[in-house]
Each structure stands twice: as structure tokens, then as C-alpha cells.
């Protein structure tokens, strides 16, 4: 893939172009992995954070076609990733990096809110994916605002079973979310 400008990358991300997304992963993720793993984190932490940062950036470029990053895309992504890592660490009080003040980083306030929204989104979907197949099907239809009778019809269950199962599945989902150490901060 030819070298793309920051503008082209942002526009490609706004259109969810597969090649551009691959480019983001190839070009920018390794630096964040090195940063996180050198501070006691795991590669999986870095990958989670990177996904949250890209979701937030996508939301920004979709909502504002003229969205610009003055510091450069690489600096911006790295700063946002560091900010997310620092935020996670501060919540769990694992480290207190005195020399690093998130206020100094090039992460505007408005994307911090979107990052928080992305974390909520990720936590929900991660917990939903861990449920059994039946729960995911029932809740998938429930969240599409389908009634108990409609869900029963589509999945070939009785309405009584769907009603009971839906409650159990929602409880399991909420419990899984509440068990996550991030939950109280989201």
C-alpha cells in the first residue's frame, strides 16, 4: 500500500476501508504494544486499548468531516493510547507514574468522553460474547426491541421459556459486567 497522508487515513477510517484499517494496525499498534509491555502490561491490554482508541477516533471523524489532528496522527494515537493505559492503571492503583500527567498529552477533552463510551461499548460486547449461544440469541433479539412473543416465534421456544431465560441471561450479562474491575469507573 502506498504511503498515505494523515488526511487519507482519517478519511479511509471514516469509510471503514479494510486496507486502511490494516494499515493502522501495522503502522501504529506495535509502538503501543512496546509502551504497554515495557510498563508491566500485556500485549492483550495494548490491543484492547488500541481498539478503543480507533473506535473513538472513528466516531470523531464520522461526526466531523473536517476533524483535524494538528499534532499528527501517530502522536495523537500514541497519546490517546498512553492516556487510556494510564487511566486503567490509575483505576486499579497498580502504578502511579508521577512523571506522566495525562493533562499534558495531546488528547482533547471531547475524545476522552468518546474513549469512555468506547470502553463501555467494549465491556458490554466482551461480556455478551462470553454468554452461551441461546442467551446471545435471545438478548440479541431483545436488544433489537423484539417482544417476547416475537423472540419465541423466531427461535422456536415457548414465550414462557423466553421470558424466564431472557431475565436469567440479562442477569448473567450484568453480573459479568459488574465483575470487571473497570465497571465502577464507567
Amino acid at each position: 500500500m502506498a504511503e498515505l497522508s494523515d488526511r487519507q487515513l482519517l478519511d479511509g477510517l471514516a469509510r471503514s476501508e479494510g486496507q486502511v484499517i490494516d494499515h493502522f494496525y501495522r503502522q501504529f499498534l506495535p509502538g503501543l504494544i512496546r509502551y504497554v509491555t515495557s510498563r508491566g502490561g500485556k500485549e492483550a491490554d495494548a490491543r484492547d486499548i488500541f481498539q478503543e482508541v480507533l473506535l473513538a477516533l472513528f466516531r470523531k471523524v464520522r461526526s466531523d468531516a473536517n476533524f483535524e489532528i494538528r499534532a499528527g496522527l501517530q502522536t495523537y494515537l500514541f497519546s490517546a493510547g498512553k492516556y487510556q493505559w494510564f487511566t486503567r492503571q490509575r483505576r486499579t492503583q497498580k502504578i502511579e507514574p508521577l512523571e506522566e500527567n495525562p493533562g499534558d498529552w495531546h488528547v482533547p477533552e471531547d475524545i476522552r468522553d468518546t474513549l469512555l463510551e468506547a470502553e463501555r461499548f467494549q465491556l458490554f460486547h466482551t461480556c455478551l460474547e462470553k454468554l452461551g449461544d441461546t442467551c446471545r440469541k435471545i438478548l440479541g433479539l431483545y436488544f433489537q426491541r423484539q417482544s417476547t412473543d416475537e423472540i419465541a416465534g423466531k427461535l422456536d421456544f415457548s414465550p414462557g421459556y423466553v421470558k424466564k431465560k431472557k431475565f436469567e441471561c440479562k442477569q448473567a450479562l450484568k453480573e459479568a459486567m459488574q465483575k470487571d474491575p473497570r465497571f465502577p469507573f464507567l
Binding site: 473506535l55 461499548f121 460486547h125 416465534g153 423466531k154 422456536d156 450484568k174
Partner: protein
């Protein structure tokens, strides 16, 4: 009690309460932090589940991450390259001595295969396609395949028959025919994509394409997606 509260919250969230009920519920919420928290979590879940743009992008990001993980090569210092090469040669020599004349065969995919239940999205679909449900559920996949092909031909944009064609071909011992259908279903942004990923791993395995099967199984395990525990078990068997 909890279930009743959950139903009341649902009624509130879907706007099914009348004005008096809503006002009374909101007053109750103002004085009950636990109820207010339950509403906050319900709104959170509803918003996350409804965000189609992020759901589609998240899937793409996961796939890009899997592709990156599948192609990356660990950084090795030169001394480790030679040490690793020497160790690999030694291991190969030991392995050859132990296994000479006994070629290793991949695990049988059928031991891990169970046909995915036929879930028809709309009730009318069954009556529109007489025989499919009966053939599929009775395990007569030879009969189910042409009916599914007919359905796929009628609705080229519908991924449901494509997914089930993959399953039916696998069930009928044609894993190589199943791969194309399952690749298409796995790449789709539908409810079947995740399930198709697991069956695709089995199809690769059955087609003798072990490297692709391993990559697919690793992706399933990493994403904790459909059948990830079985995927872990199968991967351990392949790698043993």
C-alpha cells in the same frame, strides 16, 4: 421480585408506561439509588447493543488484529536465530527417529462437528421451502443441499442459506466444498459470522489445510468467540 423490577424497567425504557406511571416511576427512581443504577446499566446496554456503526467497525478491527497477529514475526536477535535453528534441527532429528514410517495424521474434524440448529429468521420461511426443515433436522443433508442452493439462488443477498450450505456440506463429508460458503458467511456482518468461523476451522481441517485451520482456531480462542473452548481443545490435539 428482581424479575418484576426488570420488567418494570423494560416497560419504562420502551415507553410503554402512561404519564402517571412514568411520573411515579421517576419519583421512585429519584429516591432509590439502586433503581437509578439499574436504569443506568440498562441504558448503557441498550446503547451499546444498538450502535451498529461501532458493532460493524469492531468486527473489522478484530479481523484486522487477527490478520496482523497471523502475519507478524517475532523479533529475534541473531544469536537466538542460530540457537533456535540448531534446536529446531535437533528436535526434527529426534522427531524423525521416533516417527519414521509413521506419518502424523490430522485429527478427524467430524469428532468436533455438530450441525448448527436450523434457525429460520421468519416463520414464513419454513412454509416457503417445503422439505428443508425436515431434511435438515433429520440429518438428510444430501436432500437439504439442493433446497439450500435453491434458496441461495432466490435470495442472493441472504447469508442464511450460504451459512447452512457450508454446514450441510461439512455434514455430508465435503469439507472442501464447505470452505467457500463458510468463508463468505464468516466475512459477513450477520448473526452467523461468528458461528461460521468455528465451522470454517473444521472445514479447513477436513480439507487438509491445517495451517489455515490453526490460524482460524487461534483467532477464535483469542476473540473468545463461538466454541472457543472446543477450539482450544482441538488446537491442543493438532499441536500435540
Amino acid at each position: 421480585m428482581q424479575q418484576q423490577q426488570d420488567e418494570t424497567i423494560e416497560k419504562y425504557m420502551t415507553g410503554a408506561m402512561n404519564n402517571d406511571e412514568r411520573r411515579a416511576f421517576e419519583e421512585q427512581m429519584a429516591g432509590d439509588p439502586e433503581l437509578a443504577e439499574a436504569i443506568r446499566v440498562e441504558k448503557w446496554m441498550q446503547a451499546a447493543a444498538a450502535d451498529q456503526e461501532w458493532i460493524a467497525l469492531r468486527r473489522q478491527l478484530q479481523q484486522a488484529d487477527q490478520r496482523r497477529a497471523g502475519t507478524k514475526r517475532p523479533f529475534l536477535r541473531p544469536v537466538w536465530i542460530w540457537t533456535s535453528a540448531a534446536a529446531a534441527i535437533l528436535l526434527l532429528a529426534v522427531w524423525s527417529i521416533l516417527h519414521i514410517g509413521r506419518p502424523a495424521s490430522p485429527p478427524d474434524y467430524t469428532a468436533y462437528f455438530e450441525p448448527y440448529p436450523l434457525v429460520l429468521q421468519q416463520r414464513g420461511e419454513t412454509s416457503d421451502r417445503p422439505g428443508l426443515q425436515e431434511a435438515y433436522r433429520s440429518g438428510d443433508f444430501q436432500k437439504a443441499v439442493p433446497l439450500l442452493e435453491q434458496w441461495a439462488g432466490q435470495d442472493p443477498g441472504d447469508i442464511t442459506p450460504v451459512f447452512y450450505l457450508g454446514i450441510a456440506q461439512l455434514a455430508d463429508n465435503h469439507p472442501e466444498k464447505a470452505t467457500g460458503y463458510l468463508q463468505k458467511a464468516a466475512a459477513s456482518e450477520t448473526a452467523f459470522a461468528e458461528q461460521a468461523g468455528w465451522y470454517l476451522a473444521l472445514a479447513w481441517l477436513g480439507s487438509g489445510r491445517q495451517e489455515e485451520a490453526v490460524t482460524q482456531l487461534q483467532a477464535i480462542i483469542r476473540a473468545r468467540s463461538y466454541q472457543w473452548e472446543k477450539a482450544r481443545e482441538l488446537l491442543a490435539v493438532i499441536e500435540s
